[in-house]
Structures are given as C-alpha cells and as structure tokens.
C-alpha cells in the first residue's frame, strides 16, 4: 500500500526530496521500511545502518507496523542542542 515517509537532514539531501512515496506490503514493519528505502533510493545506502524510523511522535521498534501510516519519518542520528 502507498505510504509516505518524511525525510530530514542528510536523508533528505541524499534522497533529493522531503518526502518519499513507497509501496509497502500491508504487513510491513519499520525493519522492512528500512530495507525498502535502501532498495528504492540507493542514495540512502550510506546512512541506512544508522537511519532512525519514527511513527507519530515516537521512535519505532523494528517490529512496529508502518504500512499505510500517514505519520512516518526517517532520519539520521540527531544533533540538536
């Protein structure tokens, strides 16, 4: 199913877009999303191991279901402060 993911910081620069629309299996988890991101956007490969996935306002566990969510984000480690 069509699922939109927001990107930030270096992830956005590498993908060249602030959001990506992906086609995910209905059972797709955050771990699956990471794999799909790497396959569909090879430019993200360098930061894939450290990429964080958020669902809503919380960090997602690898097993968190993400397909069809409208509040997904993916971004590299934070550096505020």
């Amino acid at each position: 199913m069509k699922t939109v993911v927001k990107l930030f910081a270096r992830a956005r620069d590498l993908a060249g877009a602030p959001t990506l629309e992906l086609d995910l299996a209905e059972s797709a988890t955050a771990a699956d999303l990471r794999v799909v991101l790497g396959e569909q956007v090879p430019a993200l490969q360098p930061i894939l191991p450290s990429l964080l996935i958020a669902v809503g306002n919380d960090y997602a566990a690898p097993t968190t279901r993400v397909a069809g969510r409208t509040d997904l984000a993916a971004f590299p480690p934070v550096s505020g402060g």
Binding site: S50, A73, F75, P76, V78, G80, G81
Partner: protein, 145 residues
C-alpha cells in the same frame, strides 16, 4: 514551556518563567554557536527539525525529569534556522528546591535532548563546505558542546 522558534531565544524571560518561591535554585543552560571544533572553523550553523515530534519528545523529557527530581518549573526552547557564531541555539531552565537537584535535572535535560530530540545541525565550515552533523555515522564529525 516547550518551544521551537526561528527567532532569537529570550533566555532572560525563560529564566524568569521558572523562578518560584518554592525553589532555592535555578539552573539555566545555553548552547551557543562555537567557532572552533576539533581545529576546524565554523562560520555558521543551520538547524533543521521535525517540529511535531521534537516538541513531543521535549515534553516527554520534561516529564521524565519531573519523575526523577522535584522540579518546580522547567522550560526548554530550541532555535531552528540559520545561526551565527555566538547565537544561542538552545536554552534549558529548571528550578528545584535545592541546587544539586537543579544542576542534575538541567544536565539531564540537555544531555537527553541531544540524544533523542529530532533536530539536526549543519556545519558551514570556513572552507566553504557544509556538512550535516550525525553523531555515530562515518560522515559526521561529532560536534559536542
């Protein structure tokens, strides 16, 4: 008060807002844009954030601090956008009955903020290059305050 802002941070007002007759101690922390990092010269920083999640995470941090220390009032303001050398990027203010509580709570809040709150800084180095700071990744030079 939890706030993200593109305007300069009014840290005096933030500090005033946490003062209380229940508190014997107020600690304010300011992060400011430092010129030199590991021998490299910064010209400016650009901060990007994921505002909804960042604010939610900051509220969680405040609640976490309140569960650990007798916090009377707390406030966290983070600036986003383009910051020049010396500008205040973040301000954390906390008041507690006793001073060591306030120091510990203040340090906890800024330490955790730097670990979990979805905000990122991009270095504008003096050689003209720019670079997102992503601690723990190969690309990034960790910039720690």
């Amino acid at each position: 008060m939890i706030q993200l802002t593109h305007a300069p941070i009014d840290f005096a007002a933030l500090t005033e807002s946490v003062r209380s007759t229940q508190a014997g101690a107020v600690v304010l922390f300011l992060g400011t844009v430092r010129e030199m990092t590991h021998g490299r010269q910064t010209l400016a920083l650009d901060y990007d954030g994921y505002p909804e999640m960042a604010e939610a995470q900051l509220r969680e941090l405040e609640a976490d601090a309140r569960s650990r220390w007798p916090v009377i009032e707390a406030g966290i303001v983070h600036r986003l956008g383009h910051l020049e050398l010396g500008d205040v990027s973040v301000a954390v203010a906390v008041s507690c009955p006793h001073r060591h509580q306030a120091f510990d709570a203040g340090r906890f809040l800024i330490d955790r903020l730097k670990e979990v709150v979805p905000i990122w800084k991009k270095e504008n180095w003096s050689d003209g290059s720019t670079e997102w700071v992503h601690p723990g990744t190969d690309e990034a030079v960790g910039r720690k305050q």
